[in-house]
């Protein structure tokens, strides 16, 4: 029987999969990128529907419950995304600063 939290998880997974589909349709995602995210979100829904399938992994990693494993993976994923975003933003900031500076100094270079 599907319990409340599973319904919430499935709705979340479906919405995310649909969001990826929209991005793909708008041409903002390439085929491979779309496939990667769809597999990820469908895998997420699959695990929510059949949490027992993770039992082997849970035992191998010496974690008490599947839920604990999800939370740990979730935190690791958030930490990764935060770091990744920081790096990307930093890179974009430096590029933007360089571009704006070059533009500001353009007239000076002409003289």
């Amino acid at each position: 029987m599907i319990v409340g939290i599973q319904i919430l998880g499935i709705i979340f997974g479906l919405l995310m999969a649909y969001w990826c589909f929209l991005h793909y349709k708008r041409g903002e995602f390439g085929g491979v990128q779309f496939l990667f995210w769809e597999v990820l979100w469908l895998g997420f829904i699959f695990i929510i529907l059949l949490p027992k399938t993770t039992d082997i992994l849970v035992q191998k990693l010496s974690v008490d419950r599947a839920m604990d494993l999800f939370i740990i993976i979730g935190f690791m994923f958030i930490a990764f995304i935060t770091f990744y975003n920081y790096m990307v933003i930093n890179k974009i900031r430096q590029k933007l600063e360089g571009k704006i500076r070059k533009e500001a100094l353009k007239d000076l270079e002409k003289n």
Partner: protein, 220 residues
């Protein structure tokens, strides 16, 4: 000594003209960097004098980035000495010249203008400044009375050693840390400061950010 005075300005239409005219009493070598102002700072700076350089950032990048643009322009113009001052009438041009004189006389690499930390300073700024100054002094080993002052003068030859990465107000502490790391010859001189707007410039939240930036600079 070829001096260039750099004035980064962001939404300073009320003061920029007065600042320019004040500095022009001493030198025409002025570089204004309008950092993406939404008001008429750029036009008013252009109007104030024909013989100064007015540069413009299309979007607001921050004081550090604007100061850096100014320094790069100064180097292209063959500056030997570079002065950084604020565009909000906080600093007096007389003080800039005093700093320049001391830099030359004592053959320093960099000289910091330090504000009196007294009751005239807004309370939050006073507390934040006290804290950041102590931390910065401890980490850099340079005992400055005020680490957040925007008025400083340095030799163009020292610029590559202190060139900052910070695009915001963190440039002040980054310069101090780099002065220490590169063993540059430095001094400080008291300056007068007029506080115009407590909500402009550095805020408490900036202070927290700069604290972490200070640690990053020290250990990077």
């Amino acid at each position: 000594m070829r001096l260039q005075i750099i004035i980064p300005a962001h939404n300073e239409e009320k003061s920029i003209k007065e600042v320019i005219l004040g500095v022009k009493k001493y030198t025409n070598n002025i570089i204004i960097v309008d950092d993406g102002s939404k008001d008429n700072t750029y036009l008013l700076a252009k109007e104030a004098a024909n013989d100064i350089l007015v540069l413009r950032h299309e979007i607001n990048l921050g004081k550090g980035a604007a100061s850096k643009t100014g320094c790069e322009a100064a180097l292209k113009l063959g500056a030997e000495t570079i002065a950084l001052m604020d565009g909000d009438l906080q600093h007096s041009p007389e003080d800039v010249m005093k700093l320049v004189e001391k830099l030359e006389k004592e053959n320093l690499d960099i000289i910091f203008g330090v504000r009196p930390i007294n009751k005239e300073m807004p309370l939050l700024m006073f507390l934040g400044n006290k804290f950041l100054t102590r931390v910065c002094n401890f980490l850099s080993g340079i005992p400055l009375n005020d680490t957040q002052s925007g008025l400083k003068v340095f030799k163009a030859s020292a610029y590559p050693k202190i060139a900052w990465q910070a695009s915001d107000y963190s440039l002040e502490t980054e310069i101090i840390i780099k002065t220490s790391k590169n063993n540059l010859k430095y001094a400080q001189l008291p300056i007068q400061t007029i506080y115009k707007d407590a909500y402009k410039g550095m805020t408490m939240f900036d202070g927290i950010k700069y604290f972490f930036n200070l640690l990053k600079q020290k250990f990077s």
